[in-house]
């Protein structure tokens, strides 16, 4: 039941108060591979599409609201029929992501992405392919032409991770300065 545990953690942690960027991952969270394995296990157990979508919708409903100040054009991900915003930060050696959509299924997909990518090192972010969504039976959502913009979201997540990586490589051995990266390029 590792999968159920990971998902329960996910839901619990999203409601963690205090941090202005609610923390999904803590130091004792499982490895990125374990999270992915847990998600796959959970989705396998869910069975038919109806249950999977029900679950995704539930995840979407638990996604914490994105503060108004982050709902800027710089954070907008275009290429989606629904509105999607994604903001990122690089701090304490990990990438932090917050995102939201006005559509519920897309919000649920965002929750899945954040479960995997939020709080991970830039190396892990860049090195983790979004292919796990296929294993969740969500490959239809991944195509670049799909109007839900999941593909663009993953690109943005990885682009921001890559930028952090380049910045820390360019900076002193002590590492890069923390900072807001959302909408830094394009």
């Amino acid at each position: 039941m590792a999968g159920a545990t990971v998902l329960n953690d996910l839901l619990t942690l999203y409601r963690y108060p205090g941090d202005d960027w609610p923390r999904l991952m803590t130091t004792d969270t499982p490895s990125i591979d374990a999270v992915i394995a847990g998600l796959i296990e959970t989705f396998d157990a869910l069975g038919d599409w109806d249950e999977r979508y029900r679950h995704i919708i539930r995840l979407g409903q638990r996604l914490p609201p994105l503060p108004e100040e982050l709902r800027t054009d710089a954070h907008r991900i275009h290429g989606c029929q629904s509105h999607v915003w994604l903001a990122s930060r690089y701090e304490h050696g990990v990438m932090r992501y917050r995102a939201a959509s006005d559509a519920m299924i897309v919000s649920g997909l965002i929750a899945l992405l954040l479960a995997v990518y939020d709080g991970r090192s830039p190396v892990e972010v860049v090195g983790t392919s979004p292919g796990f969504l296929r294993a969740l039976g969500l490959s239809a959502h991944l195509s670049p032409m799909r109007s839900n913009g999941l593909h663009h979201m993953v690109l943005r997540i990885q682009r921001d991770g890559q930028e952090a990586l380049s910045r820390s490589a360019a900076a002193s051995p002590a590492g890069a300065e923390p900072g807001d990266m959302g909408g830094a390029a394009t």
Binding site: Y53, I57, Q81, M104, N148
Partner: protein, 423 residues
């Protein structure tokens, strides 16, 4: 309903057997498939329609047996291709009841037709300060070309508003129809709402003030008989792919003297009479507007689609789709939390709606899981969506092959989507 549009058309089609939707469905191979394990319910016809075997077979036969370029070869195949291509033009002419074949220009679709008029009519007849009057319910392709023209020439775009039902406010339209209005460009049927505009009256009013009229027929040509002479419109544009024909082909009708007064749209082969480096003269209509090798197979396929539609009869099609709308509307209204957007008195077979608390994108995704294809979004009518205070709607649009049973599937799928998103 939509049948009103055809009242002025001369009755030239022979009598035919009653409309048999099951027999029609058998003509469309794509309708036989299942999607996510359910029978496909294709209700995205306002975006594009499926193709009957007649069209598919015509395209296949042309590529297999008749393929050659047109208007230039002396050889057998080229002559046969040219004949077929020009025969297709004749079919479009007859379909629209235009006077002459040369009033029919083959284009890629409605979008290109409007861009052609904006560019060529604009260059010949418009100058800074001249006004183009459109409506709030136009598709982006009947907005943006005029904005581009405005940037080039300094023409001014005026927009006539709609009421809460999605009907054009005719008094506002008349008020905006001023002494500087040179062109009225208006959609016959709203792609997002289904509203049928009173184009006869619009044309009459515009002509009385000396303005020309372009009718965007993308959503009307496939669904009811159109008679450009009876309408007396100056331009009429439609797309083949919404009319059960191939993509990438459409037609622009223009009154001959008007088309003759306009410069070419693009330069290239086919559209010239004589070329030298000092002076080039242009070909006759319609070739003046058809630079380069045309979409030959597209035109021939469109001709086959028109043959198919005329055999069924546009009046029968309009009646069937109107009955589908009459069947769907009360059933959709019955769903608690569903709001129809676009409730005009005269409507074509389009039902646009919102569900309380459920994003259109989510509705579309769940309907897709039920095998129901609809469009969810702004329908390329962002200003209209803004007018209604929404970012988009879910739109079911009907075609000649849709059935009441499919509407029942739609209604049930909407109810299930609601259940799924209940918190």
């Amino acid at each position: 309903m939509v049948t009103e549009m055809s009242s002025s058309r001369p009755k030239i089609d022979p009598p035919r057997p009653a409309f048999d939707v099951e027999r029609i469905r058998a003509d469309f191979p794509a309708l036989r498939q299942t999607v996510h394990g359910r029978p496909l319910v294709y209700l995205d016809n306002a975006a594009s329609a499926q193709k009957p075997s007649r069209v598919i077979e015509t395209v296949r036969r042309y590529y297999t047996d008749d393929y050659a370029n047109v208007h230039r070869g002396l050889h057998y195949l080229s002559e046969r291709a040219s004949d077929a291509f020009e025969a297709a033009r004749g079919k479009v002419r007859a379909f629209l009841n235009a006077r002459e074949d040369r009033e029919i220009v083959f284009v890629r679709g409605t979008t290109e037709a409007i861009n052609l008029v904006a560019s060529s009519f604009g260059q010949a007849h418009l100058k800074a300060g001249d006004e183009i009057l459109i409506t709030e319910m136009e598709h982006h392709s009947n907005i943006v070309p005029w904005q581009l023209l405005g940037e080039r020439l300094g023409t001014v775009l005026k927009v006539a508003p709609v009421n809460d039902a999605g009907e054009l406010l005719m008094d506002e339209f008349e008020r905006l129809l001023g002494p500087r209005t040179r062109l009225v460009a208006v959609t016959h049927v709203s792609n997002a709402l289904g509203t049928i505009n009173p184009v006869e009256r619009i044309i009459e009013l515009a002509h009385a003030r000396g303005a020309r009229v372009l009718i965007d027929g993308a959503q009307s040509a496939p669904h009811a008989a159109v008679d450009v002479q009876a309408l007396d419109c100056d331009f009429y544009a439609f797309s083949g792919h919404k009319l059960y024909g191939p993509t990438g082909i459409g037609a622009l009708y223009g009154k001959r003297e008007l088309l003759e007064s306009m410069p070419p749209y693009q330069g290239g082969g086919e559209m010239i009479r004589e070329v030298s480096f000092t002076r080039t003269t242009y070909a006759e209509l319609p070739f003046k507007f058809e630079a380069g090798t045309p979409h030959i197979v597209g035109a021939i396929g469109l001709g086959a689609a028109i043959d198919y539609l005329r055999e069924i009869g546009l009046d029968a099609v309009a009646r069937h789709e109107s009955e589908l709308l009459d069947y769907a509307t009360p059933r959709l209204r019955e769903i608690p939390g569903l709001r129809l957007v676009g409730t005009a008195a005269r409507k074509a077979g389009i039902a646009s709606f919102l569900l309380d608390g459920v994003h259109t994108h989510d509705v579309g995704t769940i309907l897709d899981r039920h095998g129901v294809a609809v469009r969810a979004g702004h329908h390329c009518t962002m200003p209209l969506m803004t007018r209604f205070g929404v970012s988009g709607t879910t739109r079911a649009s009907f075609a000649l092959y849709n059935t009441r049973a499919e509407i029942d599937v739609l209604v049930e799928a909407i109810r299930q989507a609601q259940e799924l998103f209940r918190r």
